[in-house]
Symmetry: C2
Subunit: 257 residues, 2 copies
């Protein structure tokens, strides 16, 4: 049985609360003892009052303390914890493990997914990247990950960094391309949802074939007529620039393969 | 009953054959009379020999002739057709309607989706963009689209062009970002499939919230520390450049909203 105290009340914290509660109900070996929130109200729709605290001094004795607060607040929060030599982890893809105060045993519990308020996500298939200083602590995190997901994965710090950069490309930057698509649609009075099936299929495809095999379009066909027509249609200089560089990058990439 | 002759044996043509046959079997008002293929073999797994021809001279009398060949072959094929004043359409998002020979009544039947060989796609939800010179022909294309999809959409030439550019951003360019993600993973010995759930959720999200609301990550948070760390991790100059420009574009965009 892994006893957990969670610190934070934002996007990820709220998704973790739901996932841990579900795991508890299914009889998995986890117990969510308590959640810290700067203002208890934020969590009153998810937890009974006695499980929420707004003071670090009243934190209960747990096997793992999960700090799920904004990246730039992790160090402050970790140093405020009024205990030592316990397992304290953060949930960030970007922050090094040593953002955490050295007075505790440190680790990382990073769920590789994008969480939005009011949008349910099945934790089941989400890879949770695990890192610890000490081997025994890894066992605790693995046991914990297993209660909510099939995919607890031990990775090295360098790998987590790389994964986070890769995640920025396939998530943040991809979403920005969706946004450019939406802008172009709006400018031409076409409803953006016409593109939803295409977006979905583009994402689904790479589960079966690799992105390099899946690449299609004017860039890889070197269809310079279409490329020129597209360039002419774009008004926004940044969109034009992105079109040029992405086209070039697709073409360069073929040479490398 | 819409009688169809299909010309082409590539990716899209094969998906259309499957979709039309399914529609016929379900009793929808469509009949696939014949398919033209330069080499009949290409289609022998899909059609009985008597339905395949490799000569334009033996094309049967149909309500619509669909030319689903490579963009740069559309004009050649259209001019080779040995008849006049019939409804002839192409299936391209990029080509103007007048790539087709003026001797026939012209139109466009453009399914806004990405098709890959050996990967089934449900036509049902695919928007089919329709354009014709004459109003009556639009009725024929609408009736035809309805037999395979719920989403026959009449659009103007300028809108189709814009949609095609938007499709390049959300499909071709997005797929390229997936590929960069894969490359970064490989370089750091992380299996790319760890990113699949993230890719899927990123695509699913924008069905409920707009891409601008869905935007997260270091760029929009103006988290310059993380951005610098990511830049330092990237070795490839094109990846670095893309990271910079996409980050800038996300930040500029916030100002515009
Ligand atoms: N969202 C995701 O998709 C995702 C995915 C994987 C990992 N993560 C990681 O999860 C962590 C939390 O991210 P999030 O998306 O949940 O962020 P968020 O929704 O913005 O929530 C941030 C949380 O941090 C708290 N906080 C901020 N400064 C604090 C301070 N000085 N002291 C105490 N609490 C403070 C906030 O409390 P108030 O509500 O009181 O302001 C809030 O509960 C980050 O490390 C992030 O990198 C997020
Ligand atoms: N694939 C998609 O995702 C997609 C989506 C929407 C629209 N489209 C449009 O659909 C059309 C076909 O694309 P596709 O992806 O199916 O292409 P594809 O898989 O590359 O197939 C091209 C087809 O064109 C034929 N062809 C090429 N040159 C020809 C010529 N001179 N005479 C006769 N036939 C010729 C090829 O015949 P051989 O097999 O004998 O070489 C082949 O059947 C294009 O206009 C494309 O823009 C495609």
């Amino acid at each position: 049985m892994v006893k957990v105290v969670l610190i934070g009340s934002g996007n990820l914290a709220q998704h973790l609360i739901v996932a841990f509660q579900k795991a508890e109900k299914s009889g998995n070996a986890i117990q969510l003892l308590q959640v810290y929130a700067r203002s208890a109200d934020t969590l009153s729709h998810l937890l009974p009052a006695e499980k929420i605290t707004s003071s670090f001094d009243t934190l209960q004795n747990a096997d793992v303390y999960i700090i799920a607060v904004s990246d730039n607040a992790i160090a402050t929060v970790a140093s405020q914890l009024p205990f030592e030599n316990k397992l304290v982890v953060h949930t960030s893809g970007a922050m090094p493990m040593d953002a955490l105060d050295v007075k505790n045993r440190r680790g990382v519990f990073y769920p590789l997914q994008t969480f939005t308020k009011n949008k349910k996500v099945a934790f089941d298939g989400i890879p949770i990247c695990l890192e610890t200083e000490q081997m025994e602590d890894l066992n605790i995190l693995e046991a914990l990950a297993k209660t909510i997901s099939k995919k607890g994965i031990t990775i090295h710090p360098e790998q987590r960094k790389a994964l986070h950069v890769a995640a920025v490309f396939v998530n943040n930057f991809t979403n920005h391309l969706y946004q450019i698509g939406e802008t172009i649609c709006k400018e031409h009075q076409v409803p953006f949802d016409i593109l939803h099936p295409l977006i979905e299929e583009t994402a689904a495809k790479i589960k079966n074939i690799s992105p390099s095999e899946a690449q299609t379009g004017p860039a890889i066909r070197k269809d310079s007529k279409t490329i020129a027509a597209h360039q002419a249609l774009l008004n926004d200089p940044t969109q034009k620039q992105l079109y040029t560089i992405l086209t070039q990058s697709i073409q360069d990439n073929v040479k490398k393969l």
